[in-house]
């Protein structure tokens, strides 16, 4: 309808039109990429651990000097902790998913294989799998006589006979066949026999921290039946508790451990939710920033559109009056401004899509992010069309109320 008259008007305001289109383009490009990055961060933050997060409490303990009885103290600690009301089971391990220290080892079906796979290396006391609540999908859990003390293993006085591995690791080394009963070189010159497969158990570094250059492949982990004392790095006590009594249990942990022996220091006591929150804190901060910047950009751009449209309405007051006097309805005037905005926004969006794509390419190159799905572009375009139409609504309505009589006056 008014398409060509509008184009010629816009041509008369070439600089301002070009600027607003450029602003929309930049905002569109940044917001599309920001939302994509946000989505990326949110999905990282939901990285599955494989454990019953809601029921876990983690305590990190260390000794104050070299203690010879640390092994028996660790065993006593676990018994004492299990006696706290609300605790269902306890275990000691060297690593918890998303915890502060990680332990990894290279595994292979051949000794000293150059192409071995790095896997998370869990050493745990009896009940570790039960306490973590990981799902055993094939085979069995360790039996009591399979457990060895770390001291024995390090002194080369015993061989670890069995291992339980994650589904992903099983599929890596034994694709299409049952891994149960197969030999895997995990520790020592002799292989371990796979006795069980668990669905998933994330290692501490299962997803790279945003600034970590040495990301490990996620999903690969092994569990070994090895007891280690807190003095040997096994001071991660995992407590599976009644989810409604976590607070009580956390409060009782300190006094309980002190009663066993006051010679230790509790480094942390946290619910698993806090462990997860701590690990992903940088992602959360980034997510907030992305949301904040996107909102701010949308507001600034919308206000820019409002400001520009208001100016144009004021400037064209007489022209609008003349058109009204010549028979244009209010609806015509309203549509005129909406269409004008639609044309400007469309120009911005076309440029913005190209910019968004280029920006994504740059991010892929510099920050190793994934390629933005094509679906983001039409959604972004739709968002900006709606935003533009809403922004221009106010000025357009004001324009529509200009009475035809204004044409007869000099401004």
């Amino acid at each position: 309808m008014h398409f060509f008259p509008i184009l010629s008007t816009l041509r008369r305001h070439r600089a301002a039109s070009a600027l607003i289109a450029l602003e929309i383009a930049l905002t569109c490009a940044i917001v599309c990429n920001a939302i994509f990055l946000l989505h990326d961060r949110l999905s990282r933050m939901e990285h599955p651990s494989g454990v019953v997060e809601d029921e876990l409490v983690v305590v990190r303990l260390t000794g104050t000097d070299a203690q010879s009885d640390a092994g028996s103290l660790t065993a006593q600690d676990l018994i004492a902790l299990r006696a706290i009301p609300g605790v269902r089971s306890t275990a000691a391990t060297n690593m918890v998913p998303f915890g502060s220290s990680s332990s990894n080892t290279d595994v292979s079906t051949v000794l000293d294989d150059v192409n071995s796979t790095s896997a998370g290396f869990f050493l745990g006391s009896a009940d570790l799998l039960k306490t973590f609540g990981v799902k055993l999908i094939a085979g069995r859990d360790f039996v009591p006589d399979e457990y060895l003390d770390l001291e024995t293993v390090l002194a080369n006085r015993g061989h670890i006979a069995s291992v339980i591995i994650t589904r992903d690791l099983a599929e890596r080394w034994f694709p299409g066949k049952s891994p149960l009963g197969q030999a895997l070189y995990v520790y020592g010159k002799e292989p371990q026999i796979i006795v069980g497969v668990i669905d998933r158990l994330a290692r501490a570094n299962d997803v790279a921290r945003p600034n970590d250059v040495s990301a490990e492949v996620s999903g690969y982990a092994v569990v070994m039946p090895v007891r280690m004392s807190y003095a040997e790095g096994g001071g991660n006590y995992v407590l599976r508790v009644d989810p409604t009594r976590k607070g009580e249990v956390l409060a009782a942990v300190g006094p309980t451990l002190n009663r066993v022996s006051p010679s230790r220091i509790i480094l942390d006591r946290q619910t698993f939710a806090e462990v997860r929150q701590g690990f992903f804190k940088a992602d959360r901060a980034m997510a907030y920033l992305l949301v904040g910047v996107s909102l701010a950009l949308l507001i600034v751009t919308a206000l820019g559109v409002v400001g520009l449209a208001s100016f144009w309405v004021q400037r064209r007051t007489r022209q609008i009056g003349v058109r009204r006097a010549l028979g244009a309805t209010r609806g015509d005037i309203l549509r005129y401004f909406h269409l004008e905005n639609f044309i400007l926004t469309s120009a911005g969006i076309v440029l913005g899509m190209a910019l968004a794509y280029a920006m994504n390419l740059w991010l892929i190159h510099e920050y190793q992010v994934a390629r933005m799905p094509a679906g983001y572009l039409p959604v972004g375009a739709g968002l900006f069309w709606i935003l533009g139409q809403i922004a221009v609504l106010g000025p357009a309505m004001r324009a529509a109320t200009i009475p035809p009589a204004i044409a007869t006056r000099t401004v």
Binding site: I20, E23, A34, T64, A282, G304
Partner: protein, 433 residues
């Protein structure tokens, strides 16, 4: 004349309060966001030891087994105890120090204080001179103390005040993991940022509170922390001299590039010698990076911080374009007024100047507000639970940069519209009235 222009600008702002507020706020938020992120980047990418960062080198050797050898592949990022002690004994560099991080329980002597853990560094004598560690009392220990495992310690100011209530603690006894050590020095507040000499304990970790000779730490079996990589399924004590494990950082000071080249040759010949003796299984594979190269190699500055800076500057750009567009429209709307001024004899230059003053005023207002927002932004960063949070402070250099940025931004925003508008032809504007 400028005063008159300022008065004109004030009147113009009063006509469109909401619009002026929008422009000022947009610039303020753009400047605030950019300066917040830029300041964080500036702090994190700082040279931790200015003037010396090109003379301190991090040593890497490759003692790993033959299997898995790929020519040119990066050697381990720490040394074995055997190699570190050999290089220390050789003493080929101007200064050299071996070190590892650790922690130890401290038992205070006085009543009312319970025992606590202190972060420590088990190192050798040259550490203090090499890294220019400032002392408030006493000094570091001597090389003989390393050789005989002397029971000495250097402690931080904070630890001295906590234990003895005074910084003059030289000669006092400190009880570390059940052993009595003699305090020989107290160091002043010292926190190199990034924590370049050991990145295993966090890139922006706090400095240590307790320094003990490496040899003493082994005699007393003090706990160590940080990263340790072993190969060939080791048995026995993993911290022993012969253990096939890397866990020690080794730094050398080499005053000139020639000395660095010579030291690199020395490392190669050392590796070849070890290879001939059968200890090394791989061809010589050494690295010698100075502080700046090392930080760069380790990607110390968080990627997120760089990304945030880009995002913030993208935001500033949009805010600027927004302001340019609005100013342009505003100035063009006043073409009639400007036409009258031109007709009454104002030169094109003075119109340009008038408009620029108006734009500049918006910029300065936006800049001042933006500075406030940057301050607020940095405060928010300091509340974050990251290990570099408390470092996010606005220093004078960044303050000046903020102002320059705000002014440049607004002048740029004003330049285009002012130039565009001062070219009005008076006759056309007057006729259209």
């Amino acid at each position: 004349m400028v005063a008159y222009y300022l008065e004109l600008a004030r009147r113009s702002f009063k006509r469109n309060v909401a619009l002026t507020a929008l422009m000022v706020t947009a610039i303020a938020f753009g400047v605030g966001a950019s300066m917040t992120t830029l300041t964080v980047l500036h702090v994190l990418a700082a040279d931790p030891i200015p003037g010396k960062s090109s003379q301190l080198y991090f040593v890497q050797l490759d003692p790993r087994p033959a299997n898995g050898y790929v020519p040119g592949k990066e050697p381990p990022q720490q040394l074995t105890r055997a190699d570190a002690e050999a290089l220390l004994r050789a003493g080929t560099a101007d200064r050299q120090a071996m070190m590892t991080s650790g922690s130890a329980a401290i038992e205070p002597q006085g009543a009312g204080l319970s025992q606590f853990f202190a972060d420590g560094r088990w190192t050798s004598a040259d550490f203090f001179a090499m890294f220019r560690v400032p002392f408030v009392a006493g000094s570091g220990w001597a090389a003989e103390d390393d050789a005989r495992g002397a029971r000495v310690a250097v402690i931080s100011l904070a630890l001295a005040e906590k234990l003895y209530g005074t910084t003059d603690a030289v000669g006092r006894t400190i009880r570390v993991a059940g052993n009595d050590l003699r305090v020989v020095g107290v160091i002043d507040r010292w926190r190199p940022t990034p924590h370049f000499y050991d990145l295993n304990t966090g890139n922006y970790g706090r400095g240590e509170q307790l320094f003990v000779p490496f040899s003493t730490s082994r005699d007393l079996k003090l706990e160590r922390s940080g990263n340790q990589d072993c190969w060939g399924d080791p048995v026995g004590d993993l911290l022993a001299v012969g253990a096939p494990c890397v866990w020690i950082q080794f730094w050398v000071e080499l005053g000139t590039p020639q000395k660095a080249d010579a030291y690199r040759d020395f490392l190669v010949s050392y590796s070849e010698e070890q290879h001939r003796a059968g200890r090394y299984r791989r061809p010589a594979n050494v690295r010698l990076r100075n502080v700046i190269e090392w930080l760069d190699f380790k990607h110390v500055v968080p990627k997120d911080v760089r990304l945030q800076t880009w995002i913030a500057f993208g935001f500033l750009l949009v805010c600027l374009i927004n302001t340019v567009g609005l100013l342009l429209t505003k100035f063009l709307r006043r073409s009639a007024e400007l036409g009258v001024r031109r007709a009454l004899g104002a030169s094109r230059r003075s119109i340009f100047l008038q408009l620029l003053v108006e734009a500049g005023t918006i910029g300065v207002a936006g800049g001042v507000l933006g500075l406030g927002l940057a301050w607020l932004g940095l405060w928010t960063v300091r509340q974050q639970p990251s290990d570099y949070a408390e470092l996010a402070q606005l220093d004078p250099a960044m303050l000046a940069t903020t102002f320059a940025l705000a002014l440049a931004a607004s002048l740029f925003a004003g330049l285009v519209p002012a130039w565009h508008s001062c070219r009005v032809t008076p006759s056309i504007q007057l006729k259209s009235q």
